[in-house]
């Protein structure tokens, strides 16, 4: 008998195959069982007719509980009504393990309950769909940068100091000195870009933020490309090409999953470079016109980002933020040093900032000025300062938050479903 997976079932139309999986649902109608079977690669319906398989097997299956592990044998039949396009005419079912009464039923469950059962919740078609799209986004990301000549350079997680400010750091004892969990690999990527030209890191980052919003995770994954000899404008072009590519890849490989999620495909199909741009100045004007109480020099909150993004069908770059509200390493605009050569990319449909990027300061004097203004510890940053002493070059980079991107591409209400095991305020289990 051919042992295969549901994902590959189309290859076996008309043939008898064996699947190893779980009984997701059982519905009976007199002398017919309808078995929904899942095997991790997909879901399929199996039809078992009492007269075909005999009474003994038919009755045995009746006793099989939801999420019992089973091997199923049957003949593959094309069926255009089936979500997978195929059905299985079942010839045999064997029980591997009979499941206890499954805690997650078809009825609505509260969020806390589902989160407490995340290890089981992950089995639902919706969560499987999200995880597969997340996988595609990661693979597409790595493929995009690989094809373009980037080298992966993993940034360290344990660091002696912080990149993004010191109030939201997780601290640990490192053999009698203090270490902090990384909030960004960027500074390390700058060193690596001067060694390897085009580099990226892609790892977990941590913010001990006491915020409980639908956009925040304590632990999240970030991709951070950094490029020597790339200036502000080219940096934006790389970002829009990159985002276009990963959305295309999801549209190509995850049609089924987007359908499970009931995602409006037209919203994703319109994501094509180039993306619109608006300066911070114009954005402030726009917000003021819309009646928001905001003035030049203020940072945007989530509602502001949503208002700005709503003006566009595609992601939008907000450029030239005030120097004062941005990070010390960003290059001030030589024509107008009160703003930096930075841009945030806001996703459509209210998903907020998914990319933050900038050209970096390459001048030693200017960097020292900013380091002093921000009161950064010279010891810890000496290596970073070194980069401006030995062959400094114009360079730029950006960081994309994976989970916010997953939320947007999947059209999810809350970021907690974008990562297999979310870490949030008051949530570290399972």
């Amino acid at each position: 008998m051919l042992h295969t997976s549901i994902e590959e079932i189309a290859k076996y139309n008309g043939k008898e195959v064996k699947l190893q999986g779980w009984l997701y649902n059982l519905r009976s109608s007199g002398k017919i069982h309808f078995l929904q079977v899942r095997d991790g690669s997909g879901f399929i319906q199996g039809v078992m007719v009492k007269n075909d398989v005999g009474e003994e097997l038919f009755n045995k299956v009746k006793e099989m509980s939801q999420e019992s592990s089973v091997t199923v044998e049957g003949i593959v039949k094309e069926d255009h009504r089936a979500p997978s396009g195929y059905e299985l005419s079942i010839t045999n079912v064997e029980l591997v393990h009979k499941a206890d009464e499954y805690p997650i039923s078809k009825k609505e469950h509260g969020t806390d309950f589902l989160m407490d059962h995340r290890h089981l919740w992950l089995r639902s078609p919706r969560q499987v769909a999200i995880m597969k799209i997340r996988d595609t986004l990661v693979k597409a990301t790595r493929d995009f940068f690989h094809k373009d000549g980037f080298t992966l350079v993993d940034a360290p997680i344990l660091t002696p100091s912080s990149c993004e400010g010191t109030t939201t750091l997780f601290e640990t004892d490192y053999f009698d000195t203090k270490a902090y969990l990384s909030q960004s690999g960027q500074l390390y990527m700058e060193a690596a870009a001067l060694a390897l030209g085009k580099v990226y890191c892609f790892g977990p980052t941590f913010r001990a933020e006491k915020s409980k919003t639908r956009r925040h995770l304590i632990e999240f994954w970030m991709i951070e490309p950094e490029m020597a000899y790339v200036e502000f404008e080219e940096n934006l072009q790389i970002q829009e090409n990159y985002l276009t590519y990963i959305v295309e890849e999801v549209l190509e490989h995850n049609k089924k999953e987007l359908e499970v999620l009931d995602r409006d495909l037209t919203k994703l199909e319109s994501i094509k470079a180039p993306f619109p741009r608006i300066t911070y100045d114009k954005a402030i004007e726009l917000l003021q016109e819309k009646g928001e109480d905001i003035k030049w020099g203020d940072d945007f909150g989530a509602p502001h980002e949503t208002i700005i993004a709503e003006q566009f069908q595609k992601p939008v770059f907000v450029t030239h933020y005030p120097t004062k509200i941005k990070s010390f390493y960003m290059k001030p605009d030589p024509q107008r040093p009160e703003v930096v050569l930075a841009a945030d990319l806001l996703a459509p449909e209210g998903y907020g900032e998914i990319i933050g990027g900038s050209e970096r300061i390459s001048s030693l004097d200017l960097l020292m000025e900013r380091v002093e203004q921000e009161n950064l510890p010279l010891d810890a940053y000496q290596w970073y300062i070194d980069l401006r002493k030995y062959g400094s070059v114009p360079h730029s980079g950006f960081g994309l938050g994976l989970e916010r991107t997953v939320a947007w591409v999947c059209g999810l209400d809350h970021i907690r479903e974008t990562i297999p095991f979310p870490r949030m305020l008051n949530r570290m289990y399972p």
Copy 2:
């Protein structure tokens, strides 16, 4: 003028191109400069003849210091004596930034000095070669599992408890409870395998070990595949096919880098599945024959692993370890419960264990027995125990340490060179 990179230079034979990079070395011989230029994608020699470029430019270049950033224009010439196969007949050089006196010279430096300057040391041809091979190994890993239908499922880093024992954990405060940095994503992968069939995680892991050996890092990356419905034997086959694939990919894509590292290619070319196997019992006998003071039930030390590995040209699986010295989740051999269905894979040439894997316990009763024997906190492990209540299946997995694999493939003496920014005992800078 065509703007390109050294990696792509073969496409432009006979043409004039522009490179953006750094002056790695300058040697002059009367009326000729030999410039070694690097741009992150490769190294190339440029030849500048005084009579061709004029005295002014020729003298300007003489003042350019090592690691100064420069743009170089010249005509690409095939040259079989050149390591890259090409030379550049230089027509122009422009200085972007003149480097201060570069701290890393051709002379020998002590390890501490090089580690303190890791951000610059990364620019050397040897370190660039290692980073590129590391990149290939990561990409090949992800490609291998993707092609075979695995889904990436990122494991959490912050966890409420440990997988591998509690003496070597980094601890941090997580909103007034304690969190620990992950030592393995395996238990989470078991949950994910029951949802998605074949899964893997690939992220940083942490061991607060006070050991200072050439094989240990505090922070290292591990790939951990986990597969539902896969038993002991198939698990080993997947491992040997996987390792064969990633070594082949390095041989295909990194010939130049392996040459820089002076790696004996025949050693890598012989890495083809299947790999030899030896039981723990036989390995103990072998060690005793070799005069080692070891008895059944003892764990191997690094010297023991080296002696075992020396008997073989390929990596060797050591199988069926005593249950008592292995982790609680490993499945005891039903025929002989004092040993587990586990195998470590020892790399050749004394590089030690690079993979540890096993079939996992799928029986609830047996797992509870082991959890009690090991005195594990039931609260923290409840979700893991759940997996044996709801559709338990035979399942297996393994973990490969990326850095030890890089060390072996590159033929390095010390693991510190295998990761961009190593974290070791007494070393967290830069």
